[in-house]
């Protein structure tokens, strides 16, 4: 079995710089393949397929195309929630949240074939997830957001700082992040930012992705320069 986990681990921080989540309801019915191609053209380093509604067979069809696009561009391809879908697509990773399958269970299924991301609701759960085998954490919502109605109250960049100081695995901030505030998230210790609307809801997806990437890269340069 491929040990993709180790291969990815060596460059995971870089791969998480600009992490774009697909969402049909936000991308205004533009085809996922076009959305993802444009996001990558602008500088997205990771893509997550979020499939909330619609038949799974369609997710398999679209996911296969997204995986090929990501493979061709050396971009990380992650599937949200459904481990079976991630395995069927031979994705690079799977991302689970609090109500989804627990990290240690996911790890049993995927072994070292793929990376596992987790969204910890608390600092304690962040530390536990690392111990259970998570490869990275998505922490948020950092700022207020309208995309994920169930996301809860904003936790601010302080939470990024706390989690990043408590775990060794990379942390990405999520929730209400755009090019204007991405720098603060990186400065707090995040390896990257995860976004939905800031990229996929924009008229010019590639331009939005590029602006965000520049903000993240600048902040990362500054962070490495000062430490």
């Amino acid at each position: 079995m491929v040990d993709r986990r180790s291969t990815i681990a060596s460059h995971l921080r870089d791969a998480l710089r600009v992490y774009v989540l697909t969402d049909r309801s936000v991308s205004r019915s533009r085809a996922e393949t076009d959305v993802v191609r444009e996001a990558i053209a602008g500088g997205a380093t990771a893509i997550q397929l979020r499939w909330k509604d619609g038949p799974l067979w369609e997710a398999v069809e679209i996911g296969r195309r997204l995986r090929d696009i990501c493979d061709g561009e050396n971009v990380l391809f992650v599937v949200n929630d459904r481990v079976d879908l991630a395995l069927a697509l031979d994705a690079d990773g799977v991302h689970v949240g609090e109500d989804d399958l627990p990290v240690r269970e996911v790890r049993k299924l995927v072994g070292s074939r793929m990376i596992v991301g987790y969204s910890p609701p608390t600092l304690v759960e962040a530390v536990q997830a690392e111990r259970a085998g998570a490869d990275y954490l998505g922490v948020g919502p950092v700022f207020g957001t309208s995309t994920k109605a169930d996301a809860g109250r904003a936790v601010g960049t302080d939470r990024i700082r706390d989690v990043a100081a408590s775990v060794r695995i990379p942390v990405v901030g999520i929730g209400g992040i755009g090019s204007e505030n991405a720098g603060a998230v990186i400065a707090a210790g995040a390896a990257g930012v995860a976004v939905i609307s800031a990229v996929v809801a924009q008229d010019d997806i590639a331009a939005a992705s590029r602006t965000l990437r520049q903000a993240v890269d600048a902040a990362l340069d500054e962070a490495s320069g000062t430490t």
């Binding site: 619609g54 038949p55 799974l56 067979w57 398999v60 929630d81 459904r82 481990v83 079976d84 879908l85 395995l87 069927a88 609090e98 109500d99 989804d100 399958l101 627990p102 269970e105 049993k108 299924l109």
Partner: protein, 206 residues
Amino acid sequence: VIPRLHLISDRRICSLERLPDVALAAVRGGVDAIHVRERGLPAGELLRVVREVRRSIGDEVALLVNDRLDVALLGGANGVQLPESGLPARDVRGRFGSDVVIGRSVHDVAGAVRAERDGADFVVAGHVYVTGSKTGQPGRGVPFIRDVSASVGIPVIAIGGITPARVREVMAAGASGVAVISGILSSGQPEQAARDYRLALNEFSK
């Protein structure tokens, strides 16, 4: 061997707390496959339920999880019951091999033919009669079971409003077994209810 009497869970009728006991009672009455079908339940909770049901019914009885193959694999189930909107059977078979039992829910002959071609072990076809579980939809009738059974070589399990008294006609139409929800879950006496179905089915065994 494909099970002939399937019980499908539904927390609107039987709570998740009661399910392990009710499933065991049904098994004692003659049910030989339990499907955990709890749509909208978060995967973490679904996994706990599947494991509890497995512990309760033991390892000899077939246990299937609706839709979520990942939960099925982790929960000690034998396989997955794929809804029409679910993962393609071909991908499941291709990726997870022959150890996984694959049932496919179908609502027309074309879907059943495709399921067989894609490697499903059996189809659950329905719904045959008007049922409380699918309100407002007319049943497809016994001829539907006849058409599906004539079109595929894999076992056809009939579902939808099947009572013990109706077992005879769906089996005569070519079904290999029946799947039941409220007929057992709503009965108040799941063991006896299951036994009534089992006795009706046994008239067709060799």
